[in-house]
């Protein structure tokens, strides 16, 4: 297993995000600063890189989906800002830096998140050069994946303390909270190419869904086994917040087994794409690398 992350795609995303600006309005300069502070705080850019790698797998040039990829990272950043708020997880550090509300105050942080979400749709709807009905379908999927039956619903389930016991509800919670946006990073590219219902779709959808699960299991393991330095925040925050995780539910050994199974399922879905002739030979190499990276990452 290679686990060499496609850094060439990450760098392309990074440059694209650096060039984004949201408001020329002098009255809102401080808001722009808070939005860019959180957006440009680094990270692996897994979701937009996944969108670029999916584009390459289906025969597009990666730059053709950069507006979509950028929008997805804006949404991810917004979700981190709101998750970190005192009324939610109350985290003071993110990637080794003060979180948005610590740096700019709580009111500004709420608005920076709100603004990033609005600007994500504005950017996707104005900049993505695909047929209007396809941009529409991708934007609708993104709204669904991040709405009340998606990411925001999952975050609610996470903080509500009302999630029933047992692994099924835990998996469902994480499908919503983490999985839906990761899945959308793949699915929206298929929607832009009009192949979301074609023969490619089934294994691609399975890959997308499984990658979200894999990400979360590894995340839960790292919160227990990682170092503060590598994580960029204090280890053990899940336990302090009384959160149910794959580790609290199954123990560390079984969580590792689940991660291995999940990784194998994701890789098998990619292999099936090639077997079916749904993609060109070798076209899923970067997607394989991303799956391997998510499985083996240490931060």
């Amino acid at each position: 297993m290679s686990a060499s992350y496609p850094d060439h795609l990450r760098e392309e995303v990074e440059r694209y995000l650096q060039d984004m600006s949201f408001s020329e309005e002098p009255l809102t300069a401080g808001l722009e600063e808070a939005m860019r502070y959180s957006l440009l705080a680094g990270g692996k850019r897994i979701r937009p890189v996944l969108a670029l790698a999916t584009a390459r797998a289906v025969g597009l040039e990666q730059h053709e989906v950069l507006p979509l990829a950028g929008a997805i990272e804006l949404i991810h950043t917004y979700s981190l800002i709101h998750d970190d708020l005192p009324a939610m997880d109350d985290d003071e550090l993110r990637r080794g830096q003060p979180t948005c509300h610590v740096k700019f105050g709580e009111g500004v942080a709420i608005l920076a998140g709100d603004g990033l979400y609005a600007e994500a749709f504005r950017h996707l709807l104005r900049k993505q050069r695909s047929a209007p009905e396809r941009v529409l379908a991708a934007a609708a999927e993104l709204a669904t994946a991040t709405g009340a039956s998606g990411m925001v619903g999952g975050q609610y389930a996470d903080i509500s303390g009302r999630t029933p016991p047992g692994p099924a509800a835990l998996r469902r919670l994480h499908e919503l909270k983490t999985g839906r946006l990761i899945g959308a990073s793949v699915l929206c590219v298929l929607l832009l190419t009009g192949t979301a219902d074609g023969p490619e779709a089934t294994p691609f959808r399975r890959f997308a869904a499984e990658l979200g699960v894999l990400f979360q299991i590894v995340d839960d393991i790292l919160d227990v086994t990682g170092t503060d330095d590598a994580l960029g925040k204090p280890r053990g925050s899940d336990e302090r917040h009384g959160k149910r995780t794959y580790v609290s539910e199954f123990g560390i050994a079984q969580a590792r087994e689940l991660a291995a199974e999940s990784h194998a399922t994701a890789r098998a879905a990619l292999a099936e794409l090639a077997e079916r002739g749904a993609v060109q030979d070798g076209a899923t190499a970067e997607l394989e690398d991303i799956a391997d990276f998510i499985y083996t990452r240490t931060s």
Copy 2:
């Protein structure tokens, strides 16, 4: 001046909002409850009613823009929930009822707002039956009107304390915070009909922009002269929050003059539409009623 609000349109909006649901997911039932609590708390529904009245002015049936109108009210509700938060205006009452965060807690209120905003785009993009490129244009306008150089930017300017002195900056702040979404309630309908750049567009745009200004001036006056009962919250909240308003800037008498001028400008824009033959005779009657209502309202 009649000032008879088009209640038949408000009732149609109300029924439509009643029928909306956001998530069938059992894990998120409490989120759905909070979203519907705030959405169905009443109010004049000025923005969606404005969209329906605009549709009738340009010769559509009002029900043809209900998905847009519903999306706009979801966005307005989200903005109220976030504005009321302790980190923002810290308001405990809205329309005589506990605000969302008082009733459900701060974390849930933040997510209820986030969820309503996502569901607004989901709803508009999935339900609005117009040509895809027109739905796309309307959704992009809505994202722009509510983003960093729109509503969220205006709310930032309002809480930042960094807005420069003088009436120009105050007017600009309110154009962003209140005016852009009210304007979009008219403009998005023109975008759905493909007439946003036609001969109707200029007076319509002037009407839409002016109505936002008028709304805010009257709002500022009512915060000083209204009764707690009529307002559904304690009077004088602007002063307690140290907010600059049309009243604090100009005094009550001049603010009333400005409101009268603004109302006259809005009415003149509608008259011009009829003179130009851009709309059928009498087609702007409901828009006139809305302008009159906004000018003369007491709550």
